[in-house]
Amino acid sequence: MSTDERNQSTDAHHHEHHTVKGPGYPTPAAMRTESEREKTAFVMGVRVGMDVDKPDFVGVVDVDPDSETYSELINTVEMPNKGDELHHFGWNTCSSSCHAEGLVRDHLIVPGQRSSRIHIIDTSDPRDPTIEKVIEPEEVFEQDLSAPHTVHCVPGGKIVISMLGNANGELPGGFLQLDQDDFSIDGHWEVDRGDMEMNYDYWYQPRHGVMLSTEWAAPETYYPGFDLDDVEAGKYGNSIHVWDWETKEHQQTLTFGEEGLIPLEIRMPHNPEETEGYVGAALSSNILRFWEAEDGRWEWEKVIDVADREHPDWDMPVPGLVTDILLSLDDQYMFFSNWLHGDVRMYDISDTGNPRLVDQCWVGGNFAERQSIGGHDVRGAPQMLQLSRDGRRLYWTTSLFSSWDNQFYPEIGEKGSVMMKADVYPEEGRMELDEEFVVDFGDAPGGPARAHEIRWPGGDCTSDVWQ
């Protein structure tokens, strides 16, 4: 059963060892092996910060090599307003509700990072998504929250969104909870945020009752672009926060200091037994591993340090800028991007504390020799990653965030960014750029756009959590 056919829900696939059917897969391995190859992708298309007088859109990209429109942007659903900055997005429900009867994975929650507007998109037909509901910014500001980022559906019929600022775009941020049935705002998720002020991404491991959240900065700080003075003034994050998933209380702060400046994307293994994970510290360009110690406290260590590089045209050494990180569904490989360098790295993490670099793919950015693919310039560098469920195809886009794009890769602001792919050979521990696959969002209908986060209908490595 394809996972992107109309009205797909996982009660369509076999769920033999459970009597109750739900919207996900009973285990990460089931998702990896029982789902079919992705045929379409949802990709955010962003026009903010460009001289393109059009809204952002939810794009549909054909990723089925047997299709006549393979590697084309086959649909764009424009938002009702301009200026949203669509960024990250998530599902109404996922494998974390695998056993809940009656739930169908058929709605995407698509926030505007700048507008604080939240769109609910009906994806019953993944090739023809439609806007079902819009939560206007005023309703979000009423909760004294702004700048929505990570969306996860959570058990118990709720959706939780990390929010980076208060209603003025200042600190503190928090978490917004929506109801899964009617997508109305419940209020804040958290009961006690302790010393947490900055927010960004989060991951949770419900079997262990833990959630961990990361830090970017106040919206008023990162929205206008990256200023080193703000780092020196302590306005950027360097810590992550451990929360009690059940009581929704802040438990512990892990402070990384210089080793962990701007910890952005956080991933825990898909295996629900695991009590560890990784976070990519963008500015320090390190991967930090964290784990629960025997006494229940959480500890951390640096496991990967991406060396800065000298560039003839730059005054100072250039950091990699680790902006996205992803774990394969079998938790055997980690991939991450170095947005300022121009590479994607693949690590064997079977020994979790000792990641082993097995391959690297260079394209675009400030250091790759290859600066074009299929006749298209690579504007920007590998950034948002998405891996196929079977772990054999890694896709990425090259835009980071409108103002940061315009600062570091101004050509994205004029001509949009691109989506690319590498074929991954997990048995051999290597990957290879697919020179046949490129989607140039510079050619998007209505004008160029920045391509950002990618998701498959039916769920993926960064959407699904298991109870």
Binding site: V48, G49, M50, D51, V52, D53, K82, G83, E85, R114, S115, S116, P137, S146, G165, N168, G169, E170, P219, E220, Y223, P224, G225, F226, D227, L228, D313, W314, D315, M316, P317, V318, P319, S402, S403, N406, Q407, F408, P410, G413
Partner: protein, 105 residues
Amino acid sequence: MSHEVTLEWRDGREATVNVRKAETVTDATERAGLGIPYGCLYGACATCTGRLLEGGLVHVKRARGLKPQHRQDGYVLLCVAEPRSDCRIEVGAEVQADLVPNPWK
């Protein structure tokens, strides 16, 4: 009273828009369909940054997305700015990038 605001793009394009009393420049440019970039609409994100070349303009909400130096240099956030006289303003997506040069280059 309303004011005539002349917008200048860096590619040489020019347009004039009538900004009504108690209307922000962004509201007026949207009404006129001029396609000037914007984002948050409350003065935090600086997507709507312009540079005041001539005339009087006030921020009616705090322009949080600008640093004091930016304001001294004439940068304004059009989504929270109202003219107090006829003005000339440099606009377009490129203007925002002036605020944050690449710190390592």
